[in-house]
Symmetry: C2
């Protein structure tokens, strides 16, 4: 009579929570319907009542990431400053989940938080002087670049286990150190940086700067 529903369980949001946790520290391949089901004390097939199939579940993961983007309020700063802030907000939301970042792209034009981001970005770009179509192409590529930036974060991308990580880095360093400095003077000289950039913050700052500077550049060329 009281509308308690003790028999109904399996909150889809909680399932996405679990999936997020698993994917974050073991990679998306570790996300398994059986494992998820087990964590929620349920049969694997139960998940199909809430997600069409595994891809649908992963899409929900992507939506979750996009929902974490907090768009800065429009101000009266110049358009490129505002663009910089919006894009920074985007990577900030993704940074925590580097192995899942690429799930977001295909959801941007589907889920609400992504659409808000898209609209705002295009707004800024047209304010900067792009035609809507050019803004679409430039914006699309910028978002792709930033997703790639996060996906390939050379620090977070490594296995979470710190000793295995250090081992993997050592092996890569050794393989570069074995190269002939005569044949590859610059690669060997900057080997450490190539394998793993010095600072994560600098890495991301540079990434956003590159994108914004690129947009600035092509805008001038077109005129």
């Amino acid at each position: 009579m009281i509308s308690k529903e003790p028999a109904r369980r399996l909150d889809p949001d909680k399932v996405v929570d679990s999936a997020l946790a698993i994917a974050d520290d073991e990679g998306p391949a570790a996300v398994t319907l059986r494992r998820l089901a087990g964590q929620h004390e349920v049969t694997p097939m139960a998940l199909y009542r809430h997600f069409k199939d595994k891809d649908d579940l992963l899409a929900a993961l992507g939506d979750r990431l996009l929902a974490d983007v907090v768009l800065p309020e429009p101000t009266d700063e110049p358009w490129d400053r505002q663009l910089h802030k919006v894009l920074t907000a985007f990577v900030t939301a993704l940074r925590g989940h580097p192995r899942l970042a690429d799930l977001t792209l295909m959801r941007i034009l589907v889920a609400e938080p992504g659409l808000a981001l898209a609209e705002r970005t295009m707004e800024i770009l047209t304010e900067g002087g792009f035609s809507p179509d050019d803004a679409a192409e430039v914006g699309r590529q910028s978002i792709c670049s930033l997703i790639a930036l996060v996906t390939n974060d050379p620090i977070a991308r490594e296995v979470s286990d710190p000793i295995a990580r250090e081992d993997s880095l050592r092996r890569k360093r050794a393989s570069l150190a074995a190269l002939s400095p005569r044949k590859y003077p610059l690669v060997t000289a900057a080997a450490d940086t190539l394998i793993c950039p010095t600072s994560t913050d600098r890495y991301y700052a540079l990434g956003v700067d590159l994108v914004v500077a690129g947009i600035h550049g092509v805008l001038k060329e077109e005129k």
Copy 2:
């Protein structure tokens, strides 16, 4: 008696050929040890004599792509023109295999053709005024962006089957057309371009331009 070897078969290069063909028109998930073995009339386990495991095989695929990059000869043009050409050569090699492009990143610092590309890129960047370490970071991000550019090629990324492709596009268009033009004026206005850019060549040209312009931009900022 004649030194013919009718019993030995299974040329690893041919296996990579097959894998490439399968991945190109059905996606990398369709590449299966069993399927590959079947195509070469061999037991799945036979492949393990030539590849440590599946990842090793995919790495060989990545190497194959990188080997197709034809670096332009150094000239006396300004550094940014040369950089543009090198990066264009890179995406040109990948364009034919958009679903495999991301296999290349992890092989660049391992296989010879990738190292040549890396060294040449850093050469140009230092000539432009970057320190070796900055060249390493900027170069790395540029390569990542370009790989993402190819990977997300909105035309080639679609399923190869043209009728299914047209269907998928139609569905996306419909979903965007259903949005409120009041809430998302720019997104709905540029819907077609967002879903699928007008010209592939323009898409790639813009991509490379963005990267090169970005590098130019951050270089000036640093001084």
